[in-house]
């Protein structure tokens, strides 16, 4: 018997997860989609489609994905449920993989599909509302385009999604009660602490610092103007690589180790 992976057993597990956790998993996914749709619709009215696209994508993917990630391993706020999950005759790897597939593959691609659909609808509605005889028709038409899923904003959101979702999966295996709230607080503390520590170190090294963003840019005052000290392209690509690939791999990998070591 293969104690690491069996396709048949994994199939049973996925079927069980979907039917047993229909409400929490699919419910959370639907909630994220609904919030994304509402946010897009409202922001479009108030600030226009380009802002709505960026905001809704961030709300739906990194934030929604983080919420879904907190649900997939949310077995441990109840003794009976946690015990049942850990003693189910399935390997630790398969249990972990079920969570990874739901968050990293299912939610990720479902969200992209959903977002493309609503984006297409809103953009088409905007375009159809334009007056083709207006002298500004071409500018107005080109001002609003479909959100690029390979553009800079999308890539930053993918990076945030894989980092935050990994952290949340790890957090939901550390905290038995209210894992979403506790992990979200831990992430906020980590970000604020990194920001402040970075600012402190930069202030010790450079004078006239206006603001400093970790791993990206330091703004300094030069007289009454401000200037940016950017990372060299070489270091920037290293940092990007770390945030895009190394850190997510660490967080998602650590969640496998944590699940293996989980005592309950």
């Amino acid at each position: 018997m293969n104690d690491v992976f069996s396709a048949r057993r994994f199939g049973w597990l996925m079927r069980k997860v979907f039917l047993d956790k229909t409400t929490p998993v699919l419910g959370t996914i639907l909630l994220c989609f609904t919030v994304t749709l509402i946010f897009y619709g409202l922001t479009r009215l108030l600030q226009g489609i380009p802002t709505a696209q960026n905001g809704a994508f961030t709300i739906g993917l990194p934030l929604g994905g983080t919420l879904v990630a907190s649900v997939v391993f949310g077995y441990f706020n109840n003794n009976a449920v946690g015990t049942s999950f850990l003693t189910l005759p399935v390997s630790v790897f398969e249990k972990w993989l079920s969570g990874v597939l739901i968050v990293g593959v299912l939610y990720f691609f479902l969200f992209l599909l959903f977002f493309r659909l609503i984006d297409t609808a809103f953009v088409a509605q905007y375009h159809s509302g334009l007056n083709p005889h207006s002298p500004y028709y071409k500018e107005q038409y080109e001002y609003v385009q479909l959100f690029s899923l390979t553009g800079f904003t999308a890539r930053v959101n993918y990076m945030m999604f894989f980092n935050f979702a990994g952290m949340m999966m790890l957090g939901s295996l550390f905290f038995n009660k209210a894992p979403f709230v506790k992990t979200a607080l831990a992430i906020c503390v980590l970000i604020i602490a990194t920001f402040l520590l970075n600012l402190l170190v930069i202030n010790l090294l450079i004078k006239n610092v206006q603001i400093a963003f970790p791993f990206s840019v330091v703004w300094i005052w030069v007289g009454t103007d401000r200037a940016a000290l950017n990372l060299s392209p070489e270091n920037e690509s290293r940092i990007r690589f770390i945030f895009c690939f190394v850190l997510p791999s660490i967080f998602w990998g650590l969640s496998l180790l944590r699940l293996k070591e989980k005592e309950f």
Binding site: D3, R9, N79, L86, P89, S91
Partner: protein
């Protein structure tokens, strides 16, 4: 077979609950684990199922190390915790989702056990009362035909007729390859059911003896007020007079009262250990 060798466990480093526990359990028997609240009963069971890991020493269940939580191990053991959870599924859906993980599962047996425990429903399981849910899980666990069945306070939440049915069902489902380990503090629920009694207190093993040996080594009797013939391990006043537990020096066998046995072991652990040492 279950084996604890030099088993140590503590929830906090430096504060061990169990120290160098040596314990061996054989297949073909029903073991009753007795202990006060917080004595470490559930801790012991969780170490058996791989939900907790020993601080040092070894736990082995039919040759498996439970901490690995391998599927090949988990499909041979079923653990029913004190609080059970059933999803919003019908019996058929539950069986369709859970049973494939247990190769020995028998639908026929499940239906038979459900019938014996008087669990009948076409509705979703989460609509049942807690007692009915627990009976369903007990029936399902038995129908999985695992070699080891571990139950933590299985009779909590069961009504009086159900407790009787539970005892009958456990007895009838027993066979020589199966080991059933039942933890409880409701000693009366295990009377006439278990083959061997294990008593723990503060992480210490006070007694591990078969019921027949206990009957031979200890005497449970009603005596007169002035009785002072031998050292009394435990005594209490009840409606029949003064009930005492003493060493059995007269020979013969007396009917075991698990509650009195438990009190004797926890109040006079050294005397009880000395009696069962030989």
């Amino acid at each position: 077979m279950i084996r604890f060798e030099n088993f140590c466990f503590g929830y906090k480093p430096g504060a061990l609950l169990y120290r160098n526990l040596q314990l061996s359990l054989e297949s073909g028997k029903i073991y009753g684990l007795l202990g006060k609240n917080g004595a470490g009963k559930s801790t012991l069971l969780k170490n058996l199922t791989g939900l907790l890991y020993p601080s040092s020493g070894q736990v082995s269940v039919n040759g498996f190390n439970p901490s690995g939580r391998k599927p090949s191990f988990l499909q041979t053991i079923y653990f029913i915790p004190e609080e059970v959870h059933v999803p919003a599924l019908t019996i058929n859906s539950y069986v369709a989702l859970w049973a494939p993980f247990y190769p020995g599962f028998s639908r026929e047996m499940l239906d038979n056990y459900l019938d014996k425990l008087d669990v009948k429903t076409d509705h979703k399981l989460n609509k049942l009362s807690f007692g009915q849910q627990k009976k369903f899980i007990i029936a399902f666990a038995l129908a999985c035909n695992t070699n080891v069945l571990i139950m933590d306070e299985p009779t909590n939440g069961l009504d009086i007729p159900s407790k009787k049915r539970f005892r009958k069902l456990i007895s009838s489902s027993m066979h020589e390859d199966r080991l059933i380990f039942i933890s409880t503090h409701q000693t009366r629920d295990l009377e006439n059911l278990i083959d061997q009694v294990i008593i723990v207190d503060n992480g210490e093993l006070l007694l591990n003896a078969p019921v027949d040996i206990i009957g031979q080594k200890l005497s449970f009797k009603i005596v007169e007020e002035s009785y002072a013939a031998q050292a009394v391990l435990y005594e209490e006043e009840n409606m029949y007079g003064r009930a005492v537990v003493t060493a059995n020096i007269a020979g013969g066998e007396s009917r075991i009262n698990l509650e009195q046995l438990f009190n004797a072991a926890t109040e006079n652990p050294e005397m009880v250990k000395a009696i069962f040492k030989n």
